[in-house]
Amino acid sequence: MSKKNVILKVNGEMRQVLVELDEPLLWVLRDDLGLTGTKFGCGTGECGACSVLINGEARRSCRVPVAYAAAGQEIVTIEGLGSSGNLSPLQQAFIDHTAFCCGFCTPGMIITATGLLAKNPQPTREEIIEAMDNNLCRCGSYNNIIEAIESVIEGS
């Protein structure tokens, strides 16, 4: 397959990249656009470290061909949610609740939880677990992650 120019809308900006259309979005984000907060963990959609929001929904960027993502989709990566000194409430809650150890899975966790809260602003604990259950954390910070998510639910 030959390379083509494609335009991606990432974190509100239009970005042009020259890539093969079947290339996973993950590597385009990381290596062409420098958005390395999106992590490689497995390449098979089984760990969630590479999660990004596509039209508001958490997706595994290792399993999304860049051609799909380019077709007018709104992509948001962890960098699009907030930065040091300007964090989203959920990002801040992860710090306040020590919801990580090594931090490698954390961007994927925050993206997935952000997707959940956008769709369901007041999830029950069971709904949080169901939405998060395919995101893996080998440090085992799960309980603290749930506490962090619950702390930003409105009215909590």
Binding site: S2, D31, L35, E79, F94, F104, G140, N144
Partner: protein, 706 residues
């Protein structure tokens, strides 16, 4: 070989006040040489109690009253940087803005050992703590000499010295040094002052972690960077050789720089990650068929041809003790092969040799000096020509002591004369790496008196080092032997080391002995514990988990005890429910009572302990590397089931550090160790079935329940 003092001082430009920390040898638990870790061998060992024989950490007061501290120990997510920041900012009365913590850079940091064994906080943290106390006095003495004022009238404040009762700073510490290092003899068992307990500063990397800004090694970018990957072989790497290979189609792909056989494996290097993946898929390789049986029978193979490796402990007369016992019980326990399964796979970036004759290697590492040694030996370079920088580790757990990607990336960078980023695929991580947490067979015999005192215990352990066998209970007659057999699959340091397997056997066995005695298993433990402090921990766990209260049908409670690292005591209780139809064991509640000395950061300790429990749950219920005699069948997370959100119970923790004074200990490994036995005992309590092997998967539970 660490950097010499002279080189280090030269790098500072010969200014400032420099302290080199040196651990007092007699205060060291164990002093081992750096060469104790095999470098060439791909089955790395681990010396948890390593204390450097030369200088350890550095503390430097530089211009503008900035303080830099240097340690070779790396950030694994255990919060070491946060702990160091907490200790040094308070120990030297400075702000976080004044402090720079440099970790894991072999050009700047001393070789102060591997980051392992739950020992970093214990050694490095306490070293810095003791140093800070000594530096305060030293700075005052220097100021007194320099200013011609009696030190009685001076006091240390915020990186400098002031006159007692007066505001202002008379001299800053950096002005009082010549750049020549002052050697501080450090007592690693220093006593922690009460005011340093419970320092709740947030993780200093926190903002970068949650915003995706923290750079792990795979995130590094540089001009001209190429990407590399390995082909995964079809058989276990120790059992096969590459016989023939056709790389023509792979090499013809656009974007591919090279596809080569490197040390018996096939590597591809290209301009993009996806080029590399595509190229490796086009490689046609034939591998030799392994020469051993394809059928793997773990227990049989562990026993076959096993040689006595070491008598780990011999005390009293075990045979006479067993003969005089009222009840003697012999059982065998086995455990599975398990993986580290870090979410960050092994990875490194390396440059080719530059104009100065040096290369730089960035690596996900628990021990950058070991990586440096691997690189210079592998490439036959001088040690001083290799610069290793350890990046924050995205999960280590012992496995990133054995990470060979640093030397591999260095070699590949040389081949293409360009910087190379090597990232292991998930299949690589399961199948290219030859070592696991070991499958172990443990024969255990215990003799007790009719009133429930342990009289004798004999343990024969196959393929294990039986760490921690005799540290929990008072036993007058003990014999513990370790046997090793020729075994195809490698073993590696892994969170909790062999305490994990041994404790599963001992704590399961303790329950069975109690059952034979007709004694409550909690009471049986209370009667035999080695330290009175355990009694509080047992009682606390029993109360937290509601032991003795009403249980639903097929629910049960179990307990496990651990003593780790010499002085850390812990008890974990678990409540489970067993579904007889599906065979699924659900862990409903876990309670932890730990006496680990003063807790520097309760929030960090809490998340670490909960994570350790998650490891215990995975190990007890689902984690298993599947091997036939030839091949590692496990290649993906869908086949290797670590604990996930839906597996986690509420985990309540009580710290027993009321004394608040004492030396800091660790807690990264400890919670893994007794959780497995506690779960197995809870299952026995629930449905009356004893599991003699892990993991207790639904299929095995259904089978056992008939």
């Amino acid at each position: 070989m660490s950097m010499t003092r002279r080189q280090f001082l030269a790098s500072l430009g010969g200014t400032g006040l420099v302290y080199a920390l040196r651990f007092v040898p007699e205060a060291s638990a164990k002093t081992v040489s750096y060469g104790a870790i095999p470098v060439e061998n791909d089955t790395p060992g681990c010396t948890a109690e390593y204390i450097p024989v030369d200088y350890s950490e550095w503390i430097v007061f530089g211009p503008d009253n900035q303080v830099s501290v240097f340690t070779g120990r790396t950030e694994l997510g255990q919060g070491l940087k946060t702990v160091i920041t907490a200790i040094v900012t308070q120990g030297l009365d400075i702000t976080q803005d004044q402090l720079t913590v440099v970790q894991g850079d072999t050009d700047l940091c001393p070789d102060d050992g591997p980051t392992s064994g739950s020992a970093a906080t214990r050694h490095v943290g306490m070293g810095f703590w003791d140093a800070c106390q000594k530096i305060r006095g030293d700075v005052v003495r220097r100021a007194a000499d320099s200013l011609g004022i009696s030190s009685e009238h001076l006091e240390y404040r915020s990186g400098g010295v002031g006159r007692k009762g007066e505001a202002g700073t008379l001299a800053y510490a950096y002005e009082l040094g010549s750049g020549e290092a002052v050697i501080l003899d450090i007592n690693p068992k220093a006593i922690l002052n009460e005011q340093y307990v419970d320092i709740e500063i947030p993780n200093v990397n926190g903002e970068k972690i949650v915003s995706g800004e923290l750079k792990y090694v795979g995130d590094l970018q540089m001009p001209g960077l190429l990407y590399a990957g390995w082909l995964t072989q079809p058989y276990h790497p120790r059992l096969t050789r590459l016989q023939s290979v056709n790389m023509d189609n792979a090499r013809a792909l656009p974007g591919i720089k090279c596809v080569e056989v490197v040390d018996g494996r096939v590597a591809a290097i290209g301009q993009r990650c996806s080029d590399v993946v595509k190229a490796l898929n086009l490689v046609k390789a034939d591998w030799t068929l392994p020469k051993r049986s394809k059928e793997l029978r773990v227990e049989e193979e562990a026993r076959a041809g096993a040689q006595l490796e070491v008598v780990k402990e011999e005390k009293g007369n075990v045979e006479a003790g067993l003969a005089s016992s009222d009840i003697v019980l012999t059982e065998t326990y086995t455990t599975q092969y398990a993986a580290h399964a870090q979410i960050e796979t092994d990875a490194a970036v390396a440059t080719p040799i530059g104009p100065d004759g040096r290369i730089t290697v960035w690596v996900s590492s628990q021990y950058p000096y070991l990586d440096r040694e691997r690189v210079f030996k592998y490439l036959r370079m001088e040690p001083s020509d290799v610069h290793v920088i350890a990046m924050p580790v995205g999960g280590g757990f012992g496995g990133k002591i054995g990470n060979l990607s640093g030397r591999e990336a260095a070699k590949l960078a040389g081949m293409v004369n360009a910087p190379v980023k090597l990232i292991y695929s998930r299949r690589n991580q399961f199948q290219l790496i030859s070592f696991f947490k070991a499958a172990v067979v443990i024969d255990i015999t215990t003799g007790v008196s009719a009133d429930g005192r342990i009289i004798a215990r004999k343990i024969d352990s196959f393929q294990d080092e039986t760490d921690g066998t005799t540290e929990t209970y008072v036993i007058p007659n003990v014999l513990t032997r370790v046997y090793m057999a020729p075994w195809p699959f490698g073993r590696c340091a892994s969170r909790g080391t062999s305490y994990v397997q041994t404790c599963f056997a001992i704590e399961s066995h303790m329950d069975m002995v109690a059952h034979r005695l007709g004694m409550d298993p909690f009471e049986f433990r209370r009667k035999n514990v080695q330290y009175p402090a355990f009694l509080n921990l047992i009682d606390a766990c029993a109360e937290m988990i509601g032991y003795g209260g009403a249980l639903n049908t097929d629910e049960g409670i179990g307990m496990g005890l651990v003593r780790h690292g010499g002085a850390q005591l812990g008890v974990i209780a678990a409540k489970v429910a067993v579904d007889r139809n599906s065979g699924k064991i659900t862990v409903k509640h876990v309670c932890v009572a730990f006496d680990i000395g003063p807790v520097i950061s309760r929030r960090t300790a809490t998340v670490t302990i909960r994570g350790g429990v998650a490891w215990g749950i995975g190990y007890a219920l689902s984690e298993e590397i599947k091997l036939d005699g030839h091949h590692t069948e496990t290649g993906y997370f869908s086949q290797y089931k670590i604990a996930r959100f839906s597996d986690m119970p509420p985990i309540d923790i009580q710290f027993f550090d009321d004394h608040h004074i004492g030396s800091v200990r660790g807690c990264g490994e400890m919670p893994v160790i007794p959780t497995i036995g506690a779960i197995a005992n809870a299952v026995y309590n629930a449905v009356g079935v004893r599991f003699y092997s892990t993991p207790m998967t639904p299929d095995r539970v259904k089978q056992a329940l008939g």
